[in-house]
Amino acid sequence: MSALLTSRNVADLLGGVTNGVIYSLVALSLVLVWRSTRILNFAQGAMAMIATYIGFAILAPSTNYWISMAVAIVAGMVLGGATERVIVRALYGKPEINPVVAMVGFLLVLESVAAAIWSTSSRGLPTPFSMVDWQLNHKPVAMSPFALYEIITAVVVMSIIAVLFEYTKLGLQLRAAAIAPEVSRLLGVRVGRMLTLGWMLSSGVGAITAVLVASNYFTGLTPTTMDGVFAFGFIAAAIGGLDSPVGALVSGVAMGVVLQFVGDYLNSNAIILVALGMLVVSLMLRPNGLFSAERQRRV
């Protein structure tokens, strides 16, 4: 048993799951806004990064980690809501490349502003839990308290989102507004508010993700910290289906595991190339994603 737990394959599996939950969270964050507003938020990572800077760089470094995290989440939600009201609202009904361009522009603004204020050098966040792997019979298991913290946080966030959407009155309205905005208005749902709220939730999830990523001692926080994470998260979301939260979660974790093995057995530089290949192949087979119920468009 202990030999199994410390074996190379199990190590890859555990490491893969730890990375994968992060991709799942980014994917979930993208799905939340795609479902309701049909906009792929290319600034998702940058918005999350700004929220993290607000929680951890504006507050004094001695501030309690959890208070900083709460501030980051609130900041992320406010930023998300404001973005929907100010930028996104002007893009509804426009050609589909307009939102892409606008969100990429916003990404550029956010990253440049962050670098102007906080510089491009990496800032270490306090790491709330040890990153040293647990030992079993004097051999390391590929799981540290910090990794477990990441996984548990991801599971908690996903559960909260799932309960909110499936079992509450608010979730019912959020889903209805996303699927059938006009009918929802006829039933009294304040659709505009629901869209704003959807962006806030998405950005809240994003902020938590960025805090997790930046709390990792080896990553730290820079204005471009989230670029790579965003790319993986997008790939996971696109493979799973941009309108499927379940697809986002499953493909995020699956991708994390596969890529961990790729990195270990092949070459760490091949990881993103393989991810890109997976994306190309899966999109050719199922353009709307593996878990999507979306039908092909017709005239």
Binding site: F42, V100, V101, A102, A116, G228, A231, L242
Partner: protein, 396 residues
């Protein structure tokens, strides 16, 4: 237009030609330079008289585009010999960027798709040129540049295949992932690409003897070569522009615009939609690679950090601010790129910012980002669109 008007135009252009030749004789000391300038002036005169001749533009559209490209190249090449090395270097870099923008503009203008990965496609061309030149030192520049085009097109085809079935945002996201991945891909093939440090060209691309011959012996070889590199970029841009103008106007081009406006309807009309989309994507990748190849030649080296995610975003910004989906927009974007560094340092100097500070170093990104968002929200057709609307209103 009647014959009288045509005659008047001919007289006017002849007078203009004589004036141009005379001023060039007056302004230049060496007879050789003057002779070259006279040739340039004559080309302009012939070109302008053709373009203004009655019915020529209507009856010979391809020739019109050829003449237009030729005259533009001719004027810029003539002008480049008067400009400083700095201006010429900006011009060369900007001209190469124009090629990249032409490609992206075509992609969006014809198929309504967008790529956020054209910086990486530029990198493909840039590294193709550097790798090839390191292995085959005697290949002519034109051939090496063609290889870059082919390499860019092939990678574009590989990534563009899903474009047959993808809708805009998915494809955009995929190209973004490619842009982010490009650095790791270069590292993966580190033995060819030189890893983080990149590659030097084994030789400098200098002006050939017949060009050097035109200059007086007092001219420094630095100046001569800066002019030559600018001229290479200008001529390449001219050729790329000529092809692109024809592509925009061709049946395929028009068919693709139908795809952009309504893809389902286009399929009913009988246009092979998947192919149209992939072709547009491949053309944009190939054009980006050509621009990147030129950059390697101009800089005499290639570094991976140049072709990061930031470049892809810059390319997108330029094409949108210039005017997406149009040829003038791509040219405007190239000009903006050529001189943006000067403008930024001017702003830095006049606002008293610390030029080494964080804010100054990020000014470029902040300005481009804000312009990008503002443009797409309030003037989605960019500068070209604003100018066109202004002219349309005036002529009404």
């Amino acid at each position: 237009m009647g014959p009288v008007q045509a005659n008047q135009r001919f007289v006017a252009t002849t007078v203009l030609s004589v004036l141009v030749v005379l001023t060039s004789w007056l302004g230049v000391a060496a007879p050789r330079d003057a002779a070259a300038l006279s040739v340039a002036a004559v080309i302009v005169v012939i070109g302008v008289s053709l373009l203004t001749a009655s019915g020529f533009r209507r009856d010979h559209p391809v020739a019109t585009r050829a003449v237009l490209s030729l005259v533009t190249v001719d004027v810029l090449v003539a002008a480049s010999s008067f400009w400083s090395a700095t201006v010429n270097s900006n011009l060369a870099i900007g001209a190469a960027m124009s090629i990249v923008l032409l490609g992206l503009s075509f992609l969006t203008g014809s198929s309504g798709q967008i790529s956020i990965g054209n910086g990486a496609f530029m990198g493909v061309g840039a590294f193709t040129v550097a790798i090839w030149a390191n292995h085959h030192t005697s290949t002519p520049i034109a051939v090496v540049l063609l290889l870059a085009v082919v390499a860019g097109g092939l990678v574009g085809l590989l990534l563009g295949l899903p474009a047959t079935r993808l809708r805009g945002p998915y494809l955009a996201g995929m190209t973004l992932a490619f842009a982010v991945a490009f650095g790791a891909i270069l590292n993966l093939f580190g033995s060819w690409t030189g890893g983080d440090s990149g590659l030097q060209l084994p030789y400098a691309v200098n002006a050939p003897p017949w060009v050097v011959h035109f200059y007086s012996s007092a001219t420094s070889s630095l100046t001569v070569n800066s002019v030559w590199l600018a001229d290479v970029a200008i001529v390449t841009t001219g050729v790329a522009l000529f092809f692109m103008a024809n592509l925009f106007a061709s049946r395929t081009g028009r068919a693709m615009r139908l795809v952009r406006d309504n893809d389902v309807a286009a399929e009913l009309v009988g246009i092979s939609l998947p192919r149209a989309r992939v072709v547009a994507f491949v053309v944009s990748a190939a054009y980006a690679a050509l621009g990147g190849g030129l950059w390697t030649i101009i800089n005499n080296a290639v570094t991976p950090s140049t072709y990061g995610f930031a470049l892809s975003i810059t390319i997108l910004s330029l094409v949108v601010i210039g005017g997406i989906g149009t040829i003038p927009g791509a040219i405007i974007g190239g000009v903006i790129y050529a001189f943006s560094a000067n403008v930024i340092s001017w702003i830095t100097a006049h606002t008293g910012l610390n030029p080494q500070g964080n804010v100054a170093s990020q000014l470029n990104g902040i300005i481009f980002g804000v312009l990008l968002v503002v443009t797409i929200l309030f003037a989605p057709m960019g500068i070209a669109g604003i100018v066109r609307r202004w002219f349309a209103r005036r002529s009404r």
